[in-house]
Amino acid sequence: MSDEIKKVNGIDEGFDEISEYFCDARPSPVSPSANRIVRNFQNWAQANSIFILGFGTGCGAIELRPLFTARYDVSRYGLFPRPTPRQSSLFIIGGYASIKTMKRIIRSYEQIQNPKFVMGLGSCTVNGGMYWDSYNTINRLDHYIPVDVYVAGCMPRPESLIAGFDRLKELIMEGKAEGANTYAENFDWYKNNQKKIIKNWNMPEYNW
């Protein structure tokens, strides 16, 4: 906020934007239901109704579109696109992620509610792919947010993605896709890694 606007609004010197405007609570892991039947039931529901938030900054985004067309039609498997992180559970990172993009990825990831899954799409998310020695592109996505499934390829075909979804469903059913809890448990490690590359942080620790 520029000084001028501050003056107009009468904001005093000690005004801290971040703490004023953002919730500063840390995330805490929420363990799944203790009852096995309930847990399995919930996992089944989670696995059969996956709302996708596509993060299409990389070239992989172009491979997401055909999934919803007549040729591949993932809605058969209970997968639907959803435009807002609040309602989604699967976060697909569509390719290379630059530092600037990472900031947005982290923000969106944190805004998804607890059982949340991440799919890394393409080699770039795996090890940097063809941008492996770039000064501006990350190499390993899983050092910044927990990734459940990687779909390798440059770019992977939609069929590969569907295979990835299958794998993800298996993981969910088995109760192994607990990325959100991992993130909350290793919060400091993730934040360290994130802050190592994002120099002007300018947002709260955790974006609720």
Partner: protein, 304 residues
Amino acid sequence: MMEVLKQAGYSLATLMVVMNYGLLLVGLVTIIVARVHGRIGPPIWQPYINILKTLSMRTALSHGIMFYLGPVFRIVGGIGLLFFMPVVYGSSWMQNFSFAGDVILVVYFVFFGMLGMALGAAESGHPYSAIGIMRGLAQNTAAELPFALALMALAAQHQTLSITDIVAAQQGGIAHWNMITNPVATLAGMLAFFGMMMHSPFDVHLAPQEIPIGPPTEFHSSYLALMQTNRSIFHAAKLILFMNLFFGGATSIFVMVVKTFALLMVVVFAGVVFPRYRVEQSIRWFIRIPLAVGILAVVISAWK
């Protein structure tokens, strides 16, 4: 007291029937849309899974008290709309609380949920929510114009505002339906119906591509579950309202299912064929032909 409890129990049963019916309808519509697109589509019970899934979310957040209450308002609006209407004519248990008010009550109650939801969505502070609400409200009010005219035409025709009486007047075969006896009013009502169902091409308030789904942008977890449940009830309730007003009501659940399904199909097929209107386009659309039809309907009905 017992009467009241009995009525409450009956209404609850009705609610269950209509809710399940509504959920299946939503699932079916998704499938139909998919088939039109040449896809297979999700299973018909997908709405149930979706609700279960949203219910099984482990965290939630709240922007404030109105945000928290918004979905409650919304679903009260939906259920209330249903509760103030007789669902099946002549049935002893599907009359709900229709003794509490006539069609004007029902029509105004449509806005209860909308307003409550709008308050909740607005408290989230998300600009897209506000934009979505603005669009939704703007378009809905425009759609009310031909609907009000159609309603007045019916009132003029039947000299009553009670839904039960309107349905009663339409008994005795298709020839007595308002669709036949007052085709112009029916036309006006149906044109308004497009807007009131908020289905494509009148779904600009959601517009996933420009304002990520509008008012519910911030809602999630159990809030979303309530809203999805409400969506099915609300849809079904609106269908039942129109069925009662123009298409002779229903004498059994089966007839109700058939008629409301047919009604919904009109909207759905129109929706898959036509692209989305912009807000001012849809408003202008309503204040042109449907308005003219509505006025014609009133004039004709009052003439009689």
